[in-house]
């Protein structure tokens, strides 16, 4: 589903990712862990086209993401092509990023009507169904600013799902939440993970969640994958000394 091929990302002289290659199978749940600044979030941002690669290529569902083929050559993708590929990828952010000028309903029907071309009725039906799933059906006509952080994040998850993405990117989605609200959001994500076949890439510091949610965990350090293993293996018997150190530090803190 997702293929990173020798991807490099640098900001000026600062190399964030270098020579990074990995693949993610359809329906797979992959969690990226590692110290901050190790490049995890950059991977999600590259996939969402919020950043573009400075070397190598990324393919999603067999299509180039930041490049397009033109006359047999690979050229940087233009806005139209990139939007087309990106439609199938959804993202949930740490800070929710709901549109405060719209109601919950507006947030949920905006992209399905404007981008997928759904009718208002279809988009509304989908919005109601998704809000039911995230347990906020009664908040449909509220403004996001009147919701708690946990509720906002659940709306943001519903908004991403409303686009029926093949790939869902979760960028530290519980990091900005009050501790008592974290469990509800994680339970929702587990539910979505079990009941859909969406490919999910997740950056999180919730190691318990990473452990029972993911099929695979990738440990990052300085822009490299230093360990890539099923959670049972990585969390109990990591090979790499950096992984051992990192887990010890994170588990001690949590």
């Amino acid at each position: 589903m997702i293929v990173f091929d020798r991807v490099e990302k640098r900001f000026g002289d600062n190399v964030v990712l270098s020579d990074l290659s990995f693949t993610v199978a359809p329906g797979e749940h992959v969690t990226l862990i590692g110290p901050s600044g190790s490049g995890k979030t950059t991977i999600l941002r590259l996939l969402m086209c919020l950043e573009s690669v400075t070397g190598g290529t990324i393919k999603v569902g067999g299509k180039y993401l930041s490049h397009m083929e033109k006359g047999g050559k690979l050229v940087p993708a233009d806005e139209k092509y990139s939007r087309e590929v990106r439609k199938r990828i959804g993202m949930v952010f740490q800070q929710f990023n709901l549109f405060p000028n719209m109601t919950v309903r507006g947030n949920l029907i905006e992209a399905p009507t404007r981008v997928l071309g759904l009718s208002k009725e279809e988009a509304n039906a989908r919005a109601e169904e998704l809000l039911d799933l995230v347990g906020l059906k009664d908040k449909i006509d509220e403004h996001p600013t009147r919701l708690s952080g946990g509720q906002q994040q659940r709306v943001a998850i519903a908004r991403a799902l409303a686009m029926q993405p093949d790939v869902l990117l979760l960028d530290e989605v519980t990091s900005a939440l009050d501790p008592e609200l974290v469990a509800g959001v994680l339970a929702l994500l587990r539910d979505i993970g079990e009941n859909t076949d969406i490919t999910i890439l997740c950056v999180t510091h919730e190691m318990g969640f990473a452990r029972d949610f993911s099929h695979r965990v990738m440990m990052f350090d300085s822009g490299q994958v230093i360990e890539d293993a099923p959670p049972e293996k990585l969390f109990t018997d990591p090979d790499h000394p950096r992984t051992q150190e990192f887990l010890k530090a994170v588990l001690a803190a949590g």
């Binding site: 919020l50 800070q95 709901l98 719209m102 992209a111 981008v115 991403a160 686009m163």
Partner: protein, 217 residues
Amino acid sequence: MTIWDWEYAFSILPALIEGLGLTLVATVLGSIIAMLLGLVFAVLLRGPRPVAMIVRGIVEFVRSTPLLVQIFFLYFGLPAFGIVLSGLTVGVIALGVHYACYTSEVYRAGIDAVPRGQWEAATALSLPRSRVWTGVVLPQAVPRVIPALGNYVISMFKEVPLLVAIGVLDVVGRAEEVGNTYFRYVEPYTLAGLFFLLLSYPASLLVRRLERRVGTI
């Protein structure tokens, strides 16, 4: 001869009020241009580099030259290129374009104040660029800058008398006219000034109230 003649003052009121009407017309039309064109400038400043540079150039040029010179150029200069415009038309265009260059900065500040996350969320939802502007960014940016825009409308109102230089008979133009007719200047100019005070001051109080409501940026 008294300094202030009430009878004279009352007799010139109708002429002054007529002039005030023209001042208000110029202000309203100029403001409409300034609001719309300023918004267009602000959006283009976020556009592709060459476009942004051209707009930046125009804005800097207009802001660095006096409004009076711009008015003279449009009124006396353009006819050399075969374009002859009435005084009021020149006034409205000059005021509108001149102030658009200031309001564009106001809008820009409002746009900059919209968090990055809003752009990113819009991108993540694949919204077309035009919809990102009209549906997400501007509805958040514009309400916050309305008080600042109001201040520019008030400033513009007070600059309309510059149009006297090209023969537009606004309230000050009328004051000058009656003054020249009767050789009494204290009453007409005092009244003209009073009109500006009576309109500008409440307007600025209104802007201040708006500021408190939406918060300043």
